[in-house]
């Protein structure tokens, strides 16, 4: 495993944990952190030991935003040439389930990173928001697009225009997160949930994830064609044979991810 400077990583019982680790700046996301995150996600995605990935921050903040110092002198041309969001695009190609566990502040780039998780658990005291408008910009790593697809145009505009924080309960109500949990337990519960997912058939988990994300952009017809191909594809797996055999024999299936 690499020696990362901005994140901590570990693997236990098939669950990888990635923890943002710049607590002195409330885990503000800088470019080295994104590079390290991508490296960690991609290596866990290829690591057979790892069945699911939990992404978290610290007790006070998941991540309070992007590192403003790093970008305040940037120009449109410097950003175009840097093409930093290519790494964010690659984060969207991770095949294994990602469970986000959010404590405290989750703003701006931090919120966008949290939205890269497939499932999101938040502490009761978590706060989400896109305050970019207060700095004369807007989200740049998918925040505008993902928030709109999650909560709808009317609500998304309100949050993006005002830049105010939303509570965990509000985020739950708008379908932005999956569960609200006691702050003391949010990481534990995310790991427990990751273990449950890990016990399911891994190939099904992957192809369901792929199909769900395609269905956001595809028409119903195209989405259903895509779904069908993935459904057929699973019939070439050993786990399909095992799963159906175990069902008939009334015993728990033993999935191998093959």
């Amino acid at each position: 495993m690499s020696n990362y400077e901005t994140i901590l990583t570990s693997v236990e019982d098939g669950i990888a944990l990635i923890q943002l680790n710049r607590p002195r700046v409330l885990n503000a996301i800088n470019r080295p952190m994104v590079t390290e995150l991508l490296d960690a996600f991609e290596s866990f995605d290829r690591n057979d030991e790892v069945k699911a990935i939990v992404l978290t921050g610290s007790a006070r903040a998941f991540a309070a935003g992007a590192d403003i110092d790093e970008m305040k002198e940037d120009t449109a041309v410097s950003l175009e040439l840097l093409n930093q969001f290519k790494e964010w695009d690659r984060l969207a190609t991770i095949k294994k389930p990602i469970i986000g566990a959010v404590n405290g502040y989750c703003f701006g780039g931090g919120f966008e990173l949290a939205l890269c998780a497939d499932i999101l658990f938040a502490a009761e005291n978590a706060q989400f928001g896109f305050p970019e408008i207060k700095l004369g910009v807007m989200p740049g790593a998918g925040g505008t697009v993902k928030l709109t697809k999650l909560m709808g145009q009317k609500k998304a505009l309100e949050w993006l225009w005002l830049g105010d924080p939303m509570t965990a309960d509000e985020a739950l109500q708008y379908g932005v997160i999956n569960r609200v949990i006691a702050p003391e337990l949010v990481v534990d519960e995310a790991k427990k949930y990751a273990k449950t997912i890990a016990s399911r058939a891994p190939l099904s988990t992957r192809l369901i994830k792929e199909t769900v994300y395609k269905s956001i952009d595809y028409s119903t017809y195209e989405g259903m064609q895509f779904e069908r191909k993935n459904f057929y594809l699973l019939f070439s797996s050993q786990d399909q044979k095992e799963g159906m055999k175990a069902f008939v024999e009334k015993r728990p299936a033993e999935f191998k991810g093959k």
Partner: protein, 257 residues
């Protein structure tokens, strides 16, 4: 450090005293800000395990200082910027908060007492939903807490008729934990606060957190809250101390952790 209030810690208890006795401790915008700072200070200080809020002089708090608001003041914004953050900070504090109601608690002064976890009243104390007498509505959480504390019908009577109730009547309504003679009042408050400050603070904080949430939750949600709270409490040092002291047949020495 503060102009309109005083803040001190004695033992494990933080004392926040509204300190404008010549104005019957009426609220000003500075007082709101100072209250929020003091509440946050008490919350942050891990040595503090109970908080007392009381008033200097003969009143607890007479509510909004009506002399202070210029014509055209947006009352809604006064609440949003001043009173509401204070009430929210009190409710969010996971430590027991006692309103030591030494004298009259009127209007938003009564609301402040209602937002605390316990109320101990001096026999000299009284409560009055004064808002209606100037054509206003109870605010600062008053409409939330009052019906929950005394029931809807009684809350309507108090809020609409605006009649003063004595400490004894407040006791009969279940609005206060106890009423105490003027002479014994401070000693009784100190004893009560100290008792709370020596209890398992983490568990008290969890009780407060989830009892508050119970008002906006259904049974299945509360059952899940309890399961999470019990897991947290079950891993606390004070739970271990409770079990250990029981086995050793001695009094527990809780640390609040």
């Amino acid at each position: 450090m503060f102009e309109t209030i005083s803040y001190e810690t004695r033992g494990k208890t933080a004392w926040i005293t509204l300190n404008r006795p010549d104005k019957l401790n009426a609220f000003t915008s500075l007082m709101h800000k100072e209250m929020v700072s003091a509440i946050k200070e008490a919350n942050k200080d891990s040595h503090v395990r109970a908080v007392v809020i009381t008033g200097a002089g003969r009143a607890f708090c007479s509510g909004q200082d009506l002399s202070g608001s210029p014509a055209g003041t947006d009352y809604g914004d006064v609440l949003r910027k001043g009173y509401n953050p204070m009430v929210q900070a009190l409710v969010a504090m996971e430590k027991p908060v006692i309103a030591a109601v030494n004298g009259v608690a009127a209007g938003a002064g009564m609301s402040l007492a209602l937002a605390c976890d316990f109320r101990i009243a001096s026999e000299k104390a009284s409560f009055i939903e004064a808002f209606i007498h100037v054509g206003l509505v109870p605010d600062s959480g008053n409409l939330y807490f009052l019906p929950r504390l005394v029931g809807h019908a009684k809350a309507m009577e108090l809020a609409v008729l605006g009649e003063k109730i004595t400490a004894q009547e407040a006791k009969e309504l279940g609005l206060v934990t106890k009423t105490v003679s003027e002479e014994e009042f401070m000693l009784e408050v100190e004893t009560f606060a100290e008792k709370l400050a020596n209890m398992p603070t983490k568990a008290i904080g969890l009780i407060k957190r989830y009892m508050n949430k119970s008002w906006e939750s259904d049974l299945n949600e509360v059952l899940e809250f309890e399961a999470q709270a019990q897991k947290i409490a079950g891993e606390s040092a004070d739970h271990q101390e409770g079990l250990q002291s029981f086995l050793e047949k001695r009094k527990p020495a809780f640390t609040g952790k």
